[in-house]
Amino acid sequence: MKNRGNIIFLVIIIVATLVVVGGSFTMASFKSKLLPIVFGSGIAVLAIVQLVRETTRKDPPAKVVTDEDEEEMSEEEGAIDWRGFQKSAIWVLAFVGVTYLVSMLVAIPLFVLFYMKHLGTGWRTSIISAAATTAAIYIVFEMVLNVELYRGLVMRF
């Protein structure tokens, strides 16, 4: 099966490396531009080779999928649960956003509480875990290691 995501990824790599190689030619020193040009060109060529492989790959004939086949497929490319990865990514981006806007000490309990709940944990365990994690992070980082956890835009005012 042709992998559309991989094809897009390869196109991005090709464009990015060509931009890097092009930019390297404008560098003044030979020593500075040598490796970017050599490595960049090499990656671009390899990515083009892989892209040709991906786009010309023939789809295997369709066959009846048994339960055993499905088990074997679970770790293969075709069976990747991208939707699950996307959901986790949204949670992580929300955590980073709250950290940037408010504070790490606010983002941590909120993230642990609601992400755990989202993954299927009960309210009691989620609340206890959120409180315990925040307390542990505060004690270890702020008190023991003297690290000032990130204060967001709101907390700085």
């Binding site: 020593k31 390899l46 992580v92 981006l93 944990t121 365990t125």
Partner: protein, 501 residues
């Protein structure tokens, strides 16, 4: 020189600090080994942000403690629950879990842990004995040779990891490109910083390594959901059976010796992985056995062989990582990263200027092998309960530790942004089958490659490679790239022959 270093290294074990970090590493390794789907890579990655505040004598024993004990934890889960704690433990499941179902869980655990200990002791002793033999070779290396040694390191990881060689090369090349960002040592020119002061020193290694390795693993844990249900919780283990297992290992001395050698040799060859060592040693033990039909039916020798081999791999792997800067596995790539973070240069320096530290680290492998066996044999049945920690608890907590840890490296929010970017890249690489260790290795070794290349060009001109050692290394490099096509053609011919028969 080697003897003096050995005496100094022994003296280092008088320090409580060394013991504290080593034991912390061991406890962490056992914990992560017990939980399926986690493993040494994630455990080591979690400690990376804290290494900046540590000395080499603290940071490296900690990480090596994790690497040397993780398989022992994994063996317990494999035997009691039937799910390998780490990938190399998969071979142990075949006979180990069958023994549990037959009511011989204690015997299997005793055998697995004692065999693991025996493998670790063997590997550490052989690695220590090889140091005096390696020293003259290391001393003969020049900058030009180092250029090819760096390339060999990346090539090994690329060519011998699973999947497409082209994809591996793309990943390794991306790592090399990323290492070029920031100020260049030799010219002080600024490359690809786009005017950002944050990028003047290049990408932050901790954020990059955590993004590429840890984030995709935690996402995968969250997506996969719980691995072990309460219904498959560990069975009870009797101490009498455990001691029977310990005795079995002494009864199968030859299997232990052969599997140790297989593990050590696989460890020395970078990129092959412990899973190969365990399955090869299982197959060899079965082939050598007078009763091969018993393998797979809950036979203790089928537990001893793979468990000896996976631990015996560690010493070989560590030796090539320390002496040549060529990591044998993804875990060893993180050890290289840790070395850079604490101010050490991987490669020959480790066997010359820092020989005492290298010997100390090999002794750490030895001590951890003995200690974790002594601790796990009586406590195995209780430790196995850790395997039931649900992923819905593990994923959020690990994620928070990763983000806070990366930020804490030097209290910079931009590290978090870097982490998110490389986390996304890591997920894409993981899911589309690109080698993540190759990328991180390329990033770590890229600056060394450029450094040695320009020194060699300055000293000997464009023909710097016209030395016997360099030419030998170029030959090895060619062999590495021919490995996959050759292997494929042999397998194809063999399959054709079988079909014709």
């Amino acid at each position: 020189m080697a003897f003096e270093a050995f005496i100094t290294a022994l003296g280092n074990f008088g320090s409580l600090e060394l013991w504290a970090f080593m034991l912390l590493g061991m406890a962490t390794g056992l914990f992560f080994g017990l939980i399926p789907t986690t493993g040494a890579l994630l455990a080591m990655a979690l400690f990376l942000p804290f290494l900046f505040t540590m000395t080499p004598g603290q940071a490296l024993p900690l990480l090596i403690g994790i690497g040397a004990s993780v398989f022992q934890g994994g063996a317990i889960t494999s035997i009691l629950v039937g799910i390998p704690g780490t990938v190399p433990n998969a071979a142990t499941v075949i006979d180990g879990y069958t023994m549990t179902k037959k009511g011989e869980a204690g015997r299997a655990i005793g055998a697995a842990l004692t065999a693991s200990g025996a493998g670790t002791i063997f590997t550490a002793v052989v690695a220590l004995a090889l140091i005096p033999l390696l020293l003259p070779l290391i001393m003969a290396l020049r900058s030009g040779d180092m250029v090819f040694l760096v390339l060999i390191g990346i090539a090994f990881v690329v060519a011998l990891t699973r999947g497409s060689t082209v994809k591996g090369l793309i990943a390794g090349g991306m790592g090399l490109m990323l290492s070029l960002v920031g100020f260049q040592d030799t010219t002080a020119a600024e490359r690809f910083t786009f005017g950002s002061v944050y990028l003047y020193n290049g990408f932050e290694l901790v954020a990059l390594a955590m993004g590429i390795f840890a984030i995709p693993e935690v996402f995968a844990i969250a997506v996969r959901g719980s691995v072990i249900s309460k219904s498959t919780a560990p069975k009870m283990v009797g101490m009498q059976g455990v001691w029977q297992g310990v005795k079995d290992v002494f009864h199968h001395k030859t299997t232990v010796a052969v599997s140790s050698v297989i593990g050590f040799v696989v460890g020395i060859i970078p990129g092959i992985g412990a899973a190969v060592a365990t399955f090869v040693s299982y197959a060899v033990a079965k082939q050598r056995s007078k009763t091969p039909e018993k393998f797979g039916t809950g036979y203790v020798e089928g537990v001893i062989a793979p468990e000896t081999a996976d631990n015996a791999k560690e010493g070989g792997s560590l030796l090539t990582t320390l002496a040549l800067g060529i990591p044998g596995s993804a875990e060893m790539v993180l050890i290289l990263a840790a070395m850079m973070m604490v101010g050490l240069t991987p490669g020959p320096d480790m066997l010359t200027r820092h020989l005492d530290l290298s010997v100390t680290l090999l002794l750490v492998v030895l001590v951890i092998g003995i200690l974790s066996t002594v601790i796990c044999v009586p406590l195995g049945k209780y430790m196995a309960k850790v395997a039931t920690v649900p992923s819905r608890l593990l994923a959020p907590l690990t994620m928070v530790i990763i983000f806070v840890g990366v930020y804490a490296a030097d209290e910079n929010f931009k590290h978090i942004v870097t982490l998110v970017i490389f986390g996304a890249l890591g997920i894409v690489l993981r899911n589309y089958g690109y080698s993540r260790p190759a990328l991180v290795l390329g990033f770590i070794l890229g600056s060394l490659f450029e450094h040695y290349l320009f020194i060699a060009l300055q000293r000997s001109g464009p023909t710097f490679f016209m030395r016997p050692i360099s030419l030998g290394l170029i030959f090895v490099l060619i062999l590495i790239f021919l490995y996959n096509p050759l292997k494929d053609s042999i397998v194809r011919r063999f399959a054709k022959g079988v079909r014709a028969q």
